[in-house]
Amino acid sequence: MSENTIADRLRGEVEANDVVLFMKGTPVFPQCGFSNTVVQVLTHLGVQFKGVNVLEDDEIRQGIKDFSDWPTVPQLYVKGEFVGGCDIIREMFEAGELRPFLASKEITLETA
């Protein structure tokens, strides 16, 4: 029962926002190095995103792991699709794949 509720909440979150980063801390004040790395990459590319601080909500902190079948945070969602955690985002960025991927999802990049 409560599992459905949290899954519904998370689904609503990733469907309502084009780019959602589940993270420890906030985009302005990340509280974990891995979350910080993804924030830096997204900021560098000029991606507008919504940060969800899992440290503020135990239900989300556990729920997002089950929802994505992924054991760690951060987790990046684009247009409702789970893209990856810190390693994958960094690897995509370094391989030059992240920008075209975001463009293919029609995410606006504000180049600095």
Partner: protein, 78 residues
């Protein structure tokens, strides 16, 4: 709680017997590792699916025993 590099390698090998595994202890504290895993089982899988296969092999250790495992996965080059 910490975990040995050899334990990580053993668990991955059990699930992916053909895997080539390279593990580095990043901080020397048995708690922060980087692993590179190459296995034919990854062929045709995207990165998320590849990482999920490794996490499953570690059977929940990612939550309980390992603080950080930086992961890089790929299929063998044809």
């Amino acid at each position: 709680m910490a975990m040995n590099a050899s334990d990580i390698e053993r668990l991955i090998k059990e699930a992916l017997p053909d895997a080539t595994i390279e593990i580095r202890d990043l901080a020397g504290d048995g708690d922060h590792y980087a692993a590179t895993v190459v296995s034919s089982a990854f062929t045709g899988k995207n990165r998320v699916q590849q990482h999920q296969m490794v996490y499953k092999a570690l059977k929940g250790s990612m939550d309980a025993d390992l603080h950080a495992l930086a992961l890089q996965t790929s299929a063998p080059e044809a």
